[in-house]
């Protein structure tokens, strides 16, 4: 699966500046609501927050995968945000996070969810790719990097 099949141009935000986990999650829920107008923004935020309560989605190396499962949703929507500075996110390596790949996913389809995670992991496991994401100075540049990924 190509990243560009789940992340569109409006969901790629370079060089944003937020200073807390809460604000980042709020912004993600705002953007996700714009993509999924049938969903209530508050419900999206609640799903993201509920997942963080189970354990931080900060998976190390400055990367987090905030996600929320929504009942009744049919397709995966992903958003990629790069913050100008690392934010405390209770990550497993205690490092601040600046790359946020957020997912709003249908509830229940576990096999498909694992496939999506694997496709994302394949790209984010590439140091050079992460470096390019961090260096993107605007949204167009960020999306071009996402679109060029295999």
């Amino acid at each position: 699966m190509k990243l560009s099949s789940i992340i569109n141009k409006d969901c790629s935000k370079a060089a944003v500046l937020f200073n807390s986990k809460k604000r980042i999650l709020e912004y993600i829920s705002e953007l996700a609501h714009e993509q999924l107008p049938n969903l209530n923004q508050h419900d999206i935020l609640s799903a993201l927050m509920a997942r963080e309560k189970l354990g931080s989605t900060g998976i190390g190396k400055g990367i987090a995968l905030p996600h929320g499962r929504i009942i009744g949703l049919e397709v995966v929507t992903a958003l990629l945000l790069v913050n100008q500075q690392g934010v405390e996110f209770d990550a497993i390596d205690n490092r601040p996070v600046d790359i946020f790949l957020a997912l709003i996913v249908p509830d229940g389809d576990n096999e498909q969810h694992l496939k999506t995670l694997s496709s994302i992991a394949q790209q984010l496991n590439n140091k050079e790719f992460c470096k390019q994401l961090r260096n993107a100075s605007n949204d167009e540049e960020l999306y071009a990097i996402i679109a060029s990924a295999d």
């Binding site: 997942r51 189970l54 354990g55 931080s56 989605t57 998976i59 190390g60 190396k61 990367i63 995968l65 996600h67 497993i92 576990n110 096999e111 969810h113 694992l114 496939k115 995670l117 694997s118 994302i120 992991a121 394949q122 984010l124 496991n125």
Partner: protein
């Protein structure tokens, strides 16, 4: 010391982000090098991204290889975590 065993992924969600994070946090506590194998893929137990690449769903078998001074304890701990379905409520 090197030891290995094969475990069945039993939890409904498989080795998804949370399960992979819990496993990596456990693996980090040991000095032993911990590697997971599934089919032709392998992953460093310390790396969530590498673990996600395994795409281990419910019903898959993963081989866990531990190599180092505390390999036996590491293998036992990882095996127990998988057997206990990563302590997830289903």
């Amino acid at each position: 010391m090197r030891c290995e065993d094969t475990f069945l992924i039993q939890n409904k969600c498989g080795l998804h982000a949370r399960a992979a994070s819990v496993l990596a946090q456990l693996a980090i506590k040991f000095d032993a090098q911990i590697t997971l194998y599934q089919d032709d893929k392998s992953a460093d137990g310390n790396s969530v991204l590498a673990l996600l690449l395994l795409e281990s769903s419910q019903g898959k078998e993963v081989k866990v290889v531990c190599d180092g001074p505390d390999a036996k304890g590491a293998l036992h701990a990882i095996g127990e975590l998988i057997a206990q379905k990563f302590y997830e409520q289903e």
